[in-house]
C-alpha cells in the first residue's frame, strides 16, 4: 500500500568550509561567506522517503522553513524525485529557537497528508538534534530517532533499526511516526535527469515575481501581475510552482513563533580563537626524538 512521506529539509551554511577566508578581523565567522548547502543528514532522510515511494508508492513532500533563498534545497529535492515542495517563509519566524521552529513546522505539517515524517538527525549549523523529537511531540505522534535502516513496512506498521550509540535496536511502530535519519542510513541519490528536466524552472511565488520584474523592468504593477500569472500558469503544467506559506497561511499562533515563542536566549557568544601556546620545536631526527622520549620517561609522562 502507498505511503505519504513528508521530509523536513534545511539549508545550512557549510560549517566544514570554515577557513581563514571566512574569518572576520575580530576572529568571528562571517556566515554570509560560507556556501549554503543542503543539510547532509536531511539528504539521507529524503533518500529514505524516496526509497519508500519507489517500493510502496505514495508521495514525497519536501518542507523547509527559511529565507526565500532556501527554495534551493526544495528544488534539489524535486530534482531527486520529490513530488511537491513547501517553503515556509515569514519575517516573524526570525530568531526562533528549536522549540518555536518545531511549533511552526508542526503547523505546516498538519496541513499536509502524511503517514511518515522524516528529518535528518541533526543540522550541521546547530548540531542540536532537537527539532525532530520536538516536532513529533507537537504532532502527537511517536518518534524513532537515530534510524539506521528501514527494515519493512507492513500495512500500518513500520520496522526500523536504530542506533543506540554502542549498539542497535530493532523496533516496530504503528504509523504515523516521525523518523530522524543518520548519515550512515544510505547513500543519497544524485539528481535524476528526468526530474531535473521537468522541474528545472521550479520557482516560489516570490521568485516568480522577481522573474517577472527581471523580464519587464519598466512595466507597471498591472503588467507585472499579468506576467507573473503567465509564468505561474506555465510552471503549473509541470508541477513546478513551489508552495510558499507564511505564518497566517499555516494558522500559527504568533505567541509561539519567533522571539516570543523561544524560551532560550543568547547570553553571550565567544569566538574560538586559536591561542598560540608555548611550543617547542623538535626536529624529525633520531637525536631530537630520542631526547624527547627520554625526557617524557624521566618526568613520568611515559611510565
Amino acid at each position: 500500500m502507498p505511503y505519504n512521506c513528508v521530509v523536513l529539509v534545511k539549508q545550512v551554511p557549510d560549517t566544514k568550509q570554515i577557513s581563514g577566508k571566512v574569518m572576520k578581523d575580530d576572529g568571528t565567522v562571517n556566515r554570509a561567506a560560507l556556501p549554503a548547502i543542503f543539510n547532509p543528514e536531511d539528504l539521507n532522510a529524503l533518500e529514505l522517503a524516496l526509497q519508500i515511494k519507489d517500493k510502496f508508492g505514495g508521495t514525497v513532500t519536501a518542507v523547509t522553513m527559511g529565507l526565500p533563498t532556501a527554495a534551493n534545497v526544495l528544488r534539489q529535492s524535486l530534482f531527486r524525485g520529490a513530488d511537491d515542495a513547501v517553503l515556509i517563509t515569514d519575517r516573524r519566524c526570525a530568531a526562533s529557537d528549536t522549540l518555536a521552529t518545531s511549533y511552526i513546522l508542526s503547523c505546516a505539517v498538519k496541513k499536509l497528508d502524511y503517514d511518515i515524517v522524516l528529518c535528518g538527525r541533526q543540522a550541521i549549523d546547530g548540531d542540536t538534534a532537537q527539532v525532530g523529537p520536538q516536532l513529533a511531540e507537537k504532532l502527537g505522534i511517536p518518534q524513532i530517532s537515530y534510524v539506521e535502516t528501514l527494515k519493512d513496512i507492513e500495512d500500518t506498521e513500520l520496522t526500523v533499526r536504530r542506533s543506540i550509540g554502542n549498539g542497535h535496536q530493532v523496533v516496530r511502530c504503528k504509523l504515523p511516526v516521525l523518523l530522524t535519519v543518520l548519515d550512515t542510513a544510505n547513500e543519497p541519490r544524485v539528481n535524476a535527469a528526468k526530474q531535473m528536466m521537468k522541474h528545472k524552472k521550479a520557482l516560489t511565488p516570490i521568485e516568480i515575481q522577481q522573474k517577472a520584474k527581471f523580464e519587464l523592468p519598466e512595466a507597471d504593477d498591472a503588467a507585472l501581475g499579468a506576467k507573473a500569472e503567465e509564468i505561474t500558469e506555465t510552471l503549473t503544467k509541470t508541477d513546478s510552482v513551489i508552495k510558499q506559506w507564511n505564518l497566517d497561511d499555516i494558522e500559527a499562533d504568533l505567541t509561539w513563533c519567533g522571539v516570543s515563542g523561544s524560551p532560550t536566549k543568547v547570553n553571550r557568544i565567544q569566538s574560538v580563537v586559536l591561542a598560540a601556546k608555548e611550543i617547542r620545536d623538535v626536529a624529525p631526527t633520531e637525536k631530537d626524538i630520542t631526547d624527547l622520549i627520554h625526557e617524557m620517561i624521566e618526568d613520568n609522562t611515559i611510565a
Binding site: 543506540i164 542497535h168 586559536l274 620517561i297
Partner: protein, 342 residues
C-alpha cells in the same frame, strides 16, 4: 512550563539500561552538586525503570540528596513517550529549577520531547554549566542565578552561552565525558522518594524486537596516553604505525572523524566534538591537521605532541611539541627510543 521557582532542586536524569547506570549521570552528579550548592538547594536524581532500587544508593554516594524512584514494569525498557510522560509529571509536581541530561542517544531523544511537551527551553550538548546572571541591555532588566548553558555551535567555531529566564525548568543535555566523575563518598546519605505513574498502551507505542548492546572496545576516557591519527596518515596500512606506538606505550588509539570516514579505523576510536572527549597525560597527534572539531575533544590533554608534514597545520597552534616531518619516519624513531630505554 513551570513557574520560576527559586527554591527548586537541581535534577539529573539518571539514565540506566538493563539495570546498569550509565557513566554520564554519574559524571553530571558532580556538576549538579556544585550548581545546587551555589543556589543553596538540593540535588535530585530521577531514576526510572524496573527492579532498579539498588541503583539509588549509588546515586546518593555520587552526590544526590534525593532519588525520585519510579519502579514500574512498563518502564523497564526506555521508550520516548512513556519516559516523557513520567518525567513531565514529576517536573510538574516537584518543580525543579534545573534538569540536566547526558547528551547520549537516549538523552538527546528524550530531553527535546520533554521540552516540547512542557514548552520549556532546552540547550543541547553543553560542555559547561555554571550559575550566573543575564542582563537585557534594552530594558536594563537583570536576572540573577540563572543556569548558564555553554556549548560550542556553528561547527565548533563559536562558544555560545544560552539562558532561559522565564520558561522553566532550565534544561540542558551535557556532552558525554566533559564533566569529571566525582569520587563516591560512602559517608553520604540521601532520601528515596517513591513515585508512581499511570501508563497506558498508548504511552508504549514501540515494540522492541531486538537489542544488541556492544561493550565499548576502546576505553579512551580512561587512557593515560593516547596516540591518534588523522586523514594525513594516508592509508589503513600506515595506520599500523599508530597502533604500534600505542601498544608500545600501553596507550589507546584515537582517530579523527576524517580518518574514520576514510575507513582507516572504526568509529569507537573517534575523538572530538562528535566523538569522545579525552584529557590524557600525553596525546600524540599524527597526521592530524587539527580542525576545531577535533581540538574540542582533546585540548585539555596535559602534553600534546603533534607530528605533521605541514608546518602551518592548525594543530601546531595548540600543541606543546611540534615535529614537522613524516609520521612514517618519526613514529618508528619514537618506538625505537622507547624500546631502548624502557
Amino acid at each position: 512550563m513551570i513557574k520560576v521557582n527559586r527554591n527548586g532542586e537541581v535534577w539529573v536524569f539518571a539514565e540506566q539500561h538493563a539495570g546498569k547506570l550509565e557513566d554520564t549521570p554519574l559524571e553530571l552528579m558532580g556538576r549538579a552538586r556544585t550548581l545546587a550548592d551555589t543556589l543553596g538547594v538540593q540535588v535530585g536524581a530521577v531514576l526510572l525503570g524496573h527492579n532498579i532500587d539498588g541503583l539509588a544508593q549509588k546515586l546518593i554516594l555520587f552526590g544526590a540528596d534525593k532519588i525520585y524512584l519510579v519502579n514500574q514494569e512498563e518502564l523497564k525498557d526506555y521508550q520516548t513517550t512513556s519516559y516523557t510522560k513520567t518525567l513531565c509529571e514529576l517536573i510538574e509536581k516537584h518543580e525543579p529549577q534545573i534538569v540536566i541530561y547526558g547528551a547520549t542517544v537516549t538523552g538527546r531523544d528524550l530531553a527535546p520531547r520533554i521540552a516540547s511537551a512542557m514548552k520549556a527551553g532546552l540547550t543541547a550538548d553543553c560542555t559547561d554549566l555554571r550559575i550566573g546572571e543575564h542582563k537585557i541591555n534594552k530594558t536594563g532588566e537583570r536576572h540573577e542565578n540563572l543556569l548558564l548553558q555553554i556549548r560550542p555551535a556553528f561547527g565548533g567555531n563559536i562558544i555560545a552561552t544560552i539562558i532561559n529566564y522565564d520558561r522553566w525548568p532550565q534544561m540542558a543535555t551535557v556532552r558525554e565525558g566533559v564533566m569529571v566523575m566525582p569520587l563516591a563518598d560512602t559517608s553520604r546519605v540521601g532520601e528515596i522518594v517513591h513515585e508512581k505513574v499511570t501508563l497506558t498502551a498508548e504511552d508504549l507505542p514501540l515494540e522492541i524486537l531486538e537489542e544488541l548492546k556492544t561493550e565499548r572496545k576502546v576505553n579512551l576516557k580512561a587512557a593515560n596516553i593516547i596516540v591518534a591519527g588523522g586523514a594525513g596518515v594516508g592509508s589503513r596500512d600506515n595506520f599500523q604505525n599508530i597502533w604500534d606506538l600505542a601498544n608500545c606505550l600501553g596507550g589507546a588509539v584515537g582517530a579523527t572523524r576524517a580518518a574514520i570516514d576514510l575507513g582507516y579505523i572504526d568509529n569507537d576510536h573517534q575523538i572530538g566534538q562528535t566523538g569522545t572527549t579525552v584529557r590524557p597525560k600525553l596525546y600524540i597527534a599524527a597526521g592530524i591537521s587539527g580542525a576545531i572539531q577535533h581540538q574540542a575533544g582533546m585540548d585539555e590533554s596535559q602534553k600534546i605532541i603533534a607530528i605533521n608534514t605541514d608546518p602551518e597545520a592548525p594543530i601546531f597552534g595548540y600543541a606543546h611539541y611540534k615535529i614537522v616531518g613524516d609520521l612514517n619516519t618519526v613514529i618508528p624513531l619514537m618506538i625505537k627510543a622507547i624500546r631502548e630505554k624502557v
